[in-house]
């Protein structure tokens, strides 16, 4: 059984009189520990797929199992609880809470877990150190550069130790140097921590950091649908 299994996954919604289908009958399996890049033009369904994997959006039809859990049948609250332990999400625009410091932003997901204050502090400090921002823990987002904000966002995604990390254009808002730093960090985290990482990107250079790249076009995969450590890779760091 693969870590991620999508069967005939489809997403359709209506906007005015138009019916839009960003994802069509998608079949996909991802093995645990894979670093997968999803590429494709705008509107190809990359972000829709990522949102479905995160349980942020719901498929119109099809099945989606992650680590053996069928998530399409979960309630909204159950999905949130599942995400709090199973998924880390990195956004293109970081989306840190502006009134919280870097430390508090990273600590945020831990508030959902039954942990002592001391244990929360230990994990938060460790994760901030992991992303190289131990000395910026008391800075607010407005006091950080874009690259530093994204590192905080990555730390926030990692702090609960989820098996699946989803990243939506994590370097899309960064300059080349900062982007390289972020991708080096993500690749190292994948390599050292063995996380399954699914990343959406427009940038072929960014995709080279992944074990494998899949292309989506008009809601369909145009690359092999089973990916993992043993599968033939199109790219790599």
């Amino acid at each position: 059984m693969s870590f991620v299994e999508c069967r005939a996954l489809e997403r359709t919604y209506t906007r005015g009189d138009n019916t839009i289908t960003p994802l069509r009958a998608l079949d996909l399996e991802i093995e645990q520990g894979t670093f997968l890049a999803l590429m494709g033009p705008s509107g190809s369904g990359k972000t829709t797929l990522l949102n479905l994997l995160a349980g942020i959006d719901r498929p119109s039809s099809g099945e989606l199992r992650i680590d053996g859990q069928e998530i399409t049948t979960l309630s909204r609250a159950a999905l949130a609880r599942w995400r709090s332990v199973a998924v880390g999400y990195v956004f293109q625009l970081y989306h840190l809470v502006p009134v919280l410091t870097a430390y508090e932003n990273v600590e945020l997901p831990l508030l959902l877990h039954d942990l002592s204050r001391k244990e929360r502090h230990r994990r938060t400090a460790l994760t901030l150190e992991l992303v190289g921002l131990a000395d910026r823990h008391d800075h607010y987002p407005r006091q950080l550069s874009g690259g530093q904000e994204q590192r905080v966002a990555i730390a926030r995604a990692l702090v609960t130790d989820p098996q699946l990390i989803l990243a939506d254009e994590p370097t899309g808002d960064l300059d080349a140097e900062a982007a390289k730093g972020i991708m080096t960090l993500l690749a190292a985290l994948h390599r050292d921590l063995g996380k399954t990482l699914v990343m959406v990107t427009h940038d072929p250079k960014t995709a080279t950091f992944a074990d494998l790249t899949l292309h989506l076009e008009k809601g369909r995969l145009v690359s092999p649908a089973t990916v993992g450590a043993d599968a033939p890779a199109e790219g790599g760091a």
């Binding site: 009134v99 945020l108 508030l111």
Partner: protein, 382 residues
Amino acid sequence: MIRFAPLVTKRLVRQPLRTLLTVVGVAVAMFLYCVVEATQAGVTRATAVVAGDSVLVVYRENRYCPFTSRLPQHYQPRIAQIPGVAHVVPMKILVSNCRASLDVVTFRGVPEQDFLETTLPDFEIVAGSAEAWSHRSDAALVGDALASRRGIKVGDRFSAAGITVYVAAIGRTDELQSRNAAYTHLAFLQEAAQRGGTGGVVTQFNVTVSDPERLDAIAQAIDAEFAADSEPTFTQPEKAFVGRAATDVVEIVGFARWLGWGALAAVFALVANAIVLAINERVREYAILETLGFTGATIAGLIVAEGALLGLLGGGAGAVGAFALLSLQTYSVSMEGVHVEVSAGPSLLLSGLVASIVLSVLAGAVPALRVARGDLAGAFRT
């Protein structure tokens, strides 16, 4: 939920201008509400006849002012012999101002014997003595509210309504009208009022009945006794008398009830406005929280808690402010020689706090539910 409390407080503390403006607005509205409530409570205390009330006021029929109510003092024994009457105190009332005012001095002249037997037991003497009152013809026992409002001390001489009295004692009492009056010897007040003219004329009789349940029947009997006299009487329970004498004040305070409702509406609107504006700014932020694993219920709880905290801070400040103001200083609206006291007790503080918290929770609840049920994926597309 308690572990998320720092999230709510940090948001309020780290957005100080927004928090301050909302809290100040709520505080002002709640202050207004509490003052209106205290005034209404004062009117109720002064005018609502309740079971157990045993005092009637006998006034000149068709007269509404102490200057025009003139009754012969010799009515006293005729009233006293009416069955059910326990005690009759003839009283001369002299006021510094007949119309509605915040600072009116009311003199009540009573015979010494009646004073010692009926009036004095209602007082706890806090300064001076009853003996000093008995020994001087121009002596006055001043109610604590009046003494506090005017800064009057034992040994002072103070003037109002054209007469000057010596302060022989200051007394504390729960009797609202007595708290705001100065008791003098009846003869002294009669002489002073008439400038050496006729004695034997009083403003009213305060009649204590032995059975409170017969209050109305005894009032009718008194009025029937003097119906054919040259000075007919109109008798009613003391609180009803206050309600009639202070009609203008009662009506104004009744109208002020709308002001109180308006103040509550302002509390609701201010908190709702602050929350709705905040939510519109934070649609994506709440979506981020849900992506991190916060459930809709938890997020809604955070929003409601933020509203409740704003309400608690603002409402608390307003209610405490009103409580402090009305506790430190005694305010009494007076008219026709009767007093409606505006005062605050702990219940006012509590009701102000509860009202502001409840309204704030309600103000936050609808937007919170909207966020909790909103389209999560759609929030990222806005």
